[in-house]
């Protein structure tokens, strides 16, 4: 598995965000940003995610020109977008494109939490929708890495409407026999979880990823039943029967390869004969 060409400017040493123990940068990178002391899966940038998932150099970004407007002239939104853009070098919290995984073509979208918490506004919704539609057009499996706090409130109702818009595109994949695999990474919440993320054919998750509908603040106030200690984690959601498999990041590429190979077999056959 490629170790990744992501942003690794962390010097010789790094510190685990969870257990605070010191890590050797080279080992940390080799372990795909998993702490070897406590197993914590650190959040990845979209660039790191692409590097440790797809065949080296195979990812071709599309729709990169899409950028947010400020349709509601929402307080501080324009500034927040500008800061996020400068910080990440991205136009939005979703990167979309085409890639290969073990030689097999896939259509992919990767959410980047570092861009405004991966929140889904018009651009994020459009990119996810285009990705799923592209799966139908290319007759190609779709892989989406989710990482989002939910809908982007700064675009008001426009953001809410990205939920049905993206879900509709999943329905298109369904009726066209296009396999769609979602990977819940830390965190996958609210409006994203309650739309395209939860209706994938196969749902994988990274260990301990935060996965839930209501924000922690709302949730705490509203609880009549005492939440279990692992409430709103991938493990909790798996127990509820709402996802298929929790996969260690080091096994993730292999799992995706197997799924794309088997679930996408009918598409590749069709391509050969047609």
């Amino acid at each position: 598995m490629p170790a990744g060409r992501g942003k690794t400017a962390i010097g010789n040493f790094a510190q685990c965000k969870k257990c605070k123990k010191t890590l050797f940068s080279a080992e940390f990178l080799e372990a795909l940003w998993i702490c070897h002391h406590c197993g914590h899966h650190h959040r990845l940038s979209s660039e790191q995610r692409i590097a440790c998932t797809f065949d080296e150099g195979s990812f071709v970004e599309l729709d990169a020109e899409l950028a947010s407007e400020d349709p509601l002239q929402f307080p501080e939104y324009a500034d927040k977008i500008q800061i996020a853009t400068e910080k990440t070098g991205l136009n939005d919290g979703v990167i979309s494109g085409r890639a290969k995984i073990d030689g097999m073509p896939v259509v992919a979208a990767i959410a980047d939490f570092s861009f405004m918490g991966g929140s889904m506004g018009s651009v994020g919704g459009e990119k996810i929708t285009r990705t799923l539609e592209r799966g139908v057009d290319d007759r190609c499996p779709v892989v989406i890495f989710c990482a989002s706090g939910g809908a982007r409130m700064q675009e008001g109702l426009l953001s809410l409407m990205q939920m049905p818009k993206t879900t509709a595109a999943v329905q298109r994949c369904n009726e066209n026999g296009i396999p769609y695999i979602a990977v819940f990474t830390d965190p996958t919440m609210a409006g994203v979880l309650a739309s395209y993320a939860s209706v994938a054919d196969v749902i994988l998750a990274e260990p301990k990823a935060l996965v839930g509908f209501a924000g922690a603040r709302v949730s705490k106030q509203a609880q009549v039943v005492k939440p279990p200690s692992d409430f709103q984690t991938a493990e909790f959601v798996a127990r509820a029967g709402m996802l298929d498999k929790i996969v260690d990041r080091r096994e993730l590429r292999g799992t995706l390869v197997a799924l794309v190979k088997i679930l996408g077999a009918h598409l590749r056959k069709g391509a050969k004969s047609g």
């Binding site: 409407m161 049905p164 879900t167 739309s195 509908f213 509820a240």
Partner: protein
């Protein structure tokens, strides 16, 4: 800043109370001259009340709309059902896990006898009813019950009418355990599969995922004083300014009114409410909704089933504002 509808409408409500008292006095008065005098006073009061309402309702801010959308006397789904349809039979249960009374569902007939399927959030007016209805916050069972109805309607070729009036989907532990997110997503997905007409009316609160979970339609209408929002204004204020009391500022920023939704081209039409709001005349409010539904279904009847599905896809496909530079 008023926190409730009652607080905000206090001057009008006080006037209305006075008017009621005067009416009782007039009825009890035997002396014709005095009766006439009282009548003059009554008319004065009524004029004052009407002027008051006119002025207040002509400049409603986003926050006032929030208060009105949540007003307890506002007609709820069951009120509209009673005033618009006949032969309604409420059905229940998701056939998987349980019953959810935050949602009212079942078949009914339009006044011309045409069968339709109704799915709507239901609020409660007193403490018991509010608890029974879970404040109109659906659990996964609610959306799964709705999906049962959507399937049934699709099989029998019945148009679907949904009434939206919820603060949010249920945020409790049990809802998370039973997959509230999946239920909302699956319900939306189901609505995109339908080959029958779907019409949706936001009659009060359109509370984010809880609302859109039954809100995917060919035509979407909003009552004049209804709201539709990605997040409750108080929640937005808590995140933005760490101050949930700044709901009014957040409501303005979120542009959650029917008028804004229309400007953003996210709904098809705003339905005018009776003078002083739907709660002042639920019957008249229902007449407008009924006429709208009749016209909408007549329009959608001209569209072939497969096209209905495509039209629904296209309707949502174009939603969003972004730059392509």
């Amino acid at each position: 800043m008023a926190k409730t509808w009652k607080e905000w409408e206090k001057p009008v409500l006080e006037l209305e109370e006075l008017i009621e008292k005067l009416r009782v006095l007039i009825d009890a008065e035997a002396d014709a001259t005095k009766k006439k005098e009282l009548h003059v006073r009554l008319e004065e009061f009524e004029k004052r009340r009407d002027n008051f309402i006119k002025v207040r309702y002509s400049r409603l801010g986003a926050w006032e709309k929030v208060l009105l959308a949540r007003a307890e006397p506002r007609p709820y789904t069951l009120d509209y059902i009673a005033n618009i349809f006949t032969d309604f039979t409420e059905l229940d249960g998701d056939r998987r896990m349980g019953a959810d009374h935050a949602l009212v569902v079942g078949p009914a007939a339009m006044l011309d006898g045409r069968p339709v399927m109704i799915v709507g959030h239901q609020k409660g007016r007193d403490i018991q009813q509010r608890a029974y209805r879970n404040f109109a916050m659906c659990k996964p069972e609610g959306y799964r019950k709705a999906m049962r109805m959507f399937d049934m309607a699709d099989r029998f070729g019945m148009p679907i009418i949904t009434f939206i009036d919820t603060p949010a989907a249920d945020p409790g532990v049990e809802s998370e355990m039973r997959g509230i997110s999946e239920a909302i997503a699956a319900s939306m997905l189901k609505m995109f599969e339908l080959t029958v007409p779907v019409v949706s009316v936001v009659i009060g609160e359109g509370g984010s995922g809880g609302a859109i979970g039954i809100g995917v339609a060919n035509k979407v209408y909003m009552q004049e004083h209804a709201i539709y929002s990605v997040i409750p204004p108080e929640g937005c204020a808590a995140i933005l300014w760490r101050d949930p009391t700044k709901g009014a500022e957040a409501a303005a920023a979120l542009q959650l009114t029917a008028q804004s939704a229309m400007e953003l081209e996210l709904i098809d039409e705003i339905l005018e409410e009776p003078f002083g709001g739907a709660h002042r005349d639920p019957v008249e409010a229902a007449v407008t909704v009924k006429e709208t539904l009749v016209a909408a279904l007549a329009d959608l009847d001209k569209v072939p089933p497969k096209k209905l599905k495509e039209q629904r896809y296209d309707r949502y496909r174009k939603m969003g504002r972004f730059q392509t530079a």
